[in-house]
Subunit: 249 residues, 2 copies
């Protein structure tokens, strides 16, 4: 049985211990307006004090509603809130790609979807180094992936997979929500149907499986045969995201 | 004793086996004009045929000489050679950062240096997905880090540390050069003093240690006390780039 109050305390201690041991100061993270970044931002504030946490919205041809939901999180926990609009950066990149040839939207679809989290990662790390330089002390980047997303490889390698500490790495989606309830993440953010803010589909529609079923598989519980097959197939196909083949003498 | 001819064959087999096992088609990589990307590009061509390798120069306020040296590699091995100029993308990003405040060059120095390899990684992965979509078959991204760079953490997390296969991961700088001699990497590229093309300093000056001394430490051989201390300190400080703290229940 998941004890949300106890786990929340343990995560906060885990964060605080790592910061103390390594003489770190602050955290910089992208705030999407979804539950994962909302919960992680809240946990970082509880662990470090909200004065040491900086959240960034990183719109890139995005819906304005996302930024509004992100703002709810910043207001709730009282951390500094910045905006870096990546729309021009993305458009500027697409101009360069256009010089290589004419491509259809279908052909560039996967490329277009995945470059956004990569630009976001680059931007968040840019700000982490800049705040470390201007404010003194080291700012690092917490990741916002949860155990269900990780199990099926639902992340962009080199994008949201790059981080310096992973506070909800071991929690299923349901457990992340329970922790969010304990620390008071705004309901609108916590119960929003998760989507990537890019493709227009919900995460579950895109994956073709339910997060609750992934959680069952992770916990060794029964799920329907079809769901299990699909989940294990996603898990197997994602293996390359975790294990890079390296040549050794 | 390092047998360069034999190791070269073994690396080529390692690459070919991974591609066959995973039904992959091609490779896309950034070509800097330095020895590491030159050697890896050559190895990929030997393993897959040069028709399945695409090299990209990714200038970003860069010296023109780098692109000329990169072209030498492409001509030698006969692979397709593209250019994506990131100067406008970078400038566009800096405009957005400028909206957050006024920062000195000294304050943005670390941020500016490290965002370039991150943008390069994002660009190479963009092209890998685009070529997979337009040409059929899966293109992946080989990494170009060598054992000496890895040992002291001389790479950008989320930049040149993101790749799908690592052909020279286990080779010291001297061994990379020997493999380059076996496959015929152009001398101008192979013996060029390595630098990041960004800071204006050679890698060894920037690190404050010699690659030959790092190789000795890796191989368990004697080096001077001062060099060993410096190298082990760099190694220790780079630990966070390899081990990310994750919370598990």
């Amino acid at each position: 049985m998941f004890d949300a109050v106890r786990e929340t305390e343990k995560i906060i201690t885990f964060i605080r211990d790592y910061y103390e041991k390594n003489h770190l100061k602050g955290a910089v993270l992208g705030i999407s307006g979804g539950k994962d970044s909302g919960v992680v931002a809240g946990l970082m504030c509880k662990a470090l004090g909200s004065e040491n946490v900086v959240g960034i919205t990183l719109p890139c041809h995005s819906k304005e509603a996302d930024a509004a939901d992100a703002k709810l999180v910043a207001e709730k926990f009282g951390f500094e809130f910045l905006n870096i609009d990546l729309t021009d950066v993305y458009d500027s990149f697409k101009v360069q790609v256009g010089k290589l040839g004419e491509f259809t939207d279908e052909e560039t679809k996967n490329s277009d979807i995945n470059i956004k989290p990569r630009f976001r990662m680059a931007s968040v790390y840019y700000m982490a180094a800049l705040l470390s330089a201007t404010r003194g002390g080291t700012y690092i980047v917490p990741g916002t992936s949860n155990a269900c997303e990780l199990y099926v490889g639902y992340f962009t390698k080199g994008g949201d997979s790059v981080y310096d500490i992973a506070p909800i790495y071991g929690l299923t989606v349901e457990e992340v929500i329970q922790v969010g309830e304990v620390i008071g993440v705004p309901e609108k953010v916590l119960y929003r149907t998760p989507d990537d803010g890019i493709s227009g589909l919900s995460d579950e529609d895109k994956l073709g499986v339910r997060y609750s079923d992934i959680a069952r598989v992770i916990n060794g519980e029964e799920v329907g045969e079809e769901a299990e097959k699909k989940i294990e197939e996603l898990h197997r196909k994602a293996a390359h995201k975790f294990h890079t083949p390296v040549y050794r003498k």
